[in-house]
Symmetry: C2
Subunit: 512 residues, 2 copies
């Protein structure tokens, strides 16, 4: 638990984040430089971004993915960053860049991915890799318009349509423009910089771990800024301090070896659907508490800093609940943000026999549940599955890995086949770290309003590779609009978000 001192410090940080503070000496110069540079160069910033967006970037399209990587490496080098392509057989290259600064006390790592989701051409209003400027969101009547001439006024509500405009080339454009702005103002970055630009995130980051292991020594930083994802649905900028981990298992329990007539055998032959219902019922109570012994044992407690941050989150639980047709949510309507900080056990599928028109008066032969488990900070995916298995054993089950053979069936009255899925732990950065305080401060200055600071997002990403393999904290630093059609046709970026991104990057590059 954080002490009184840390709590007061955290509240100070939040105050910085919530108020747009005016000038805080040298760091503020970087932000001001970015703003004036951007205002003077909007047309050329957009032109350079459009060029980057015009190269197809599906991870499996090797030829084009390398063209993307080469262009990005060139842009880093043009800005004085030592850049190279790392390669692995069969994998898109990683673009790596490093810039060391005299007397810097910190090293910042910037992670971006330059690959994008595959496209369904028929569903796009213009070709996905022919970036097009619109006067607004297409759904709201936005129309295509010419790219602006130098000096022409640019409406921040305009949007650039094109694959990866939001997810995830926007941070690249922001970083390049921020570096240009500092250069133009004669301001040096305040930290050493490491750039790690991945080319297969949308294809599952299969080679990321190997890249990180091979180049671990090049990747020693004080904090990783994960530049990905959208800002809050309220359009307020956000920083996110973690992700949930993930694991899961499938459980099948057994009845007789063949379907039995429920009249001739009902009440006598065990019914696997009943068995499964009882097994699952014992795993979670009506209040949403998981009853598996030790399930919450390793979970990091929610700190004062997280509680303070959660208190500033927009209050939209009730709206969400109503939108979803729910009269109540788990744990007596506890806050969604708080529920994401403890591990969850979710039945994603349940099947036995048949319902509806296919239903027959039989005792089914087996019943299966598919379960996913979201992990909070501190939870180990393997231990969590071990605990669920121990719970199953305590209910009298013999656990098998394959379909039970006749001898096993005759030996054990209750048999559960358990298939474990691979998992990975959560990642969450303590909001009371000094560098985190500085980042919150910088983002607060870049934002034109209060920040949203969720301690974690609900989704799972393998950020543990950064926090565990590279042993550095992570902060997720999104810039794209929440309605950017990420992963969908007509992906887009609102210019106001790009402008915020440039400001944010400049503020981070000149972190005090």
């Amino acid at each position: 638990m954080a002490g009184r001192h840390q709590l007061l410090r955290m509240l100070g940080i939040l105050l910085c984040a919530l108020l747009v503070t005016a000038d805080s000496a040298p760091a503020e110069d970087g932000l001001a430089a970015a703003r004036s540079f951007r205002q003077a160069n909007e047309a050329s910033i957009l032109g350079a971004f459009a060029e980057l967006l015009s190269i197809p970037n599906v991870a499996s399209d090797s030829e084009n993915i390398v063209r993307n990587a080469e262009l990005i490496r060139g842009r880093l080098e043009e800005r004085g960053v030592a850049a190279e392509l790392w390669t692995l057989n069969g994998a898109p290259p990683v673009v790596f860049g490093a810039l060391d600064v005299t007397d810097a006390e910190r090293t910042l790592g910037f992670y971006v991915h330059y690959d994008g989701q595959p496209v369904d051409l028929d569903q796009w209003d213009q070709p996905p890799w022919s970036p097009t400027l619109y006067t607004g969101a297409i759904e709201e009547g936005g129309r295509p318009r010419p790219w602006p001439q130098p000096g022409e006024a640019v409406d921040p509500e305009w949007r650039i349509y094109g694959r990866s405009s939001g997810d995830d080339k926007a941070p690249l454009a922001a970083i390049f423009a921020a570096l240009d702005a500092l250069e133009a103002a004669g301001i040096e970055p305040s930290s050493n910089l490491r750039f790690l630009f991945e080319g297969e995130e949308e294809a599952g980051s299969e080679h990321l771990e190997e890249y990180l292991r091979q180049h671990r020594e090049d990747l020693e930083v004080d904090v990783w800024l994960i530049c990905d994802g959208p800002v809050h649905q309220s359009r307020r900028p956000q920083l996110v301090f973690g992700v949930r981990g993930y694991t899961g298992l499938d459980i099948t329990v057994y009845g007789a070896t063949r379907y039995l007539h429920s009249g001739h055998y009902g009440n006598w032959a065990p019914n696997p659907a009943h068995l499964l219902a009882r097994l699952l019922a014992g795993m979670k109570d009506d209040d949403g508490n998981v009853l598996v012994e030790g399930f919450y044992q390793d979970t990091a407690p929610i700190g004062e800093a997280e509680r303070a941050a959660m208190a500033t989150l927009p209050d939209f639980d009730d709206d969400l609940r109503r939108e979803l047709g729910l009269a109540a949510t788990e744990a007596d309507n506890a806050l969604l943000a708080e529920r994401l900080l403890i591990p969850s056990l979710n039945i994603r599928g349940l099947e036995s026999g048949a319902v509806g028109a296919e239903a027959r008066n039989v005792i089914p032969t087996e019943a299966t549940a598919s379960i996913d488990i979201r992990l909070a900070k501190g939870d180990d995916p393997v231990k969590m599955l071990d605990r669920v298995e121990e719970h199953i054993r305590r209910q009298g089950y013999h656990i098998v890995r394959d379909e039970p053979d006749p001898a096993v069936r005759l030996e054990y009255p209750k048999i559960a086949r358990v298939s474990r899925r691979e998992g990975y732990p959560a990642a969450r950065t303590g909001m009371d770290l000094a560098v985190v305080g500085d980042i919150i401060g910088a983002a607060g200055r870049a934002a034109d309003g209060p920040l949203v600071l969720p301690p974690t997002m609900g989704g799972s990403l393998p950020l543990y590779l950064f926090t565990e393999l590279l042993a550095a904290p992570v902060v997720i630093v999104p810039i794209a609009n929440h309605d950017d059609n990420q992963h969908a046709p007509n992906e887009n970026l609102r210019l106001a978000n790009l402008w915020y991104g440039i400001d944010l990057m400049a503020a981070l590059l000149t972190l005090p």
Copy 2:
């Protein structure tokens, strides 16, 4: 509960059934007459049966079904039974016959159905309505052979192949031959006789209730002999004293109105699969006891007569258990025959989200269980569903009949949509009734060995129409071999079973 007197009486009856008793005066004359008549007339009995089997008898084949009915009516009339066809629009006719005997103290009703299951011609070794004599079961190497000449020796292991040879024209052939035998020996039946031969049993007996209501006054009997079904798997003849009733319901419980990402909302939005698991788990415990309040309240207790009869049943539970790959059965391996005498609650299907390759990391929107309930004597199908609904309500659920609308969803945290299925009660005849004792005695004399006397069968049939609408007890009197391929291709009747059937009918017709 039966008193000591009744118990002693029952044991006496069982003794009769278990031992093939030699002579018990006039009744024994009927049986002896049947045996000598049959031995002298095997060829012509088989010929007459073959003629009956050669008319196609699927209930929907109106023209042929009437041909069957006409032939059967003719055969009754030839034997001095006043016979007629009852008709209803769109329904196969019922063949009704009545024979009154001077000074008879009882009226016996014989129910048989003359329609058969539809056929898949490709799967038969000979056309289903071209009855063919085989030297044994086809699967055991039986070969077709010519029909016997009068006086030719007939092997009782021969089989007649043809649709309805077992299910359910065999009892017709047996009744006709038994009447002929009595006639030839100059013996009058000892009871008034009513014959009710149905033509749409295999199509669901849709019009049976209406026929019975319209002709109730013609159908006043002391006992209905339901001549249908096979003898015991051990080949031992059996009498069965009841059937289970049936009802059922489907339950759907609800989560959010759309699938939710289990990371973003897991632990917060209620999971309907968990809800359903808890609801179902509360309905039945690990010992197989249904926990719904009042579930066993109206169930007729198992009488001493039933217990005595069950004690004589072949002990095959363990074999069955092993065959089905079960290490244990419900209620600490309680006897199957005993478990059939209490109501059961069986989950026949369970579905929520998806398992296997289709599984996704989501919180499903709903979860459904399909349940069937088998009823024992005394249980009312409507009351049983009421009790299950009350159980659901006590778990905090609001019950709806249709998909809940948004207002209902926002009002009630737990909503269950319940669809009730139509049901009907069980029928079970007390084994200590005087007429039942006489029937057991007659069947015991006809059988060449001990009888099997299950108090009920596991399956459900609408015999309540006889026990409740016609207010008479029923006894199920099967004659076909258990391996007669009932409902399947290559249906057949083993001649030994037909010979037993003739003996049995003669014994029943001359019931003391």
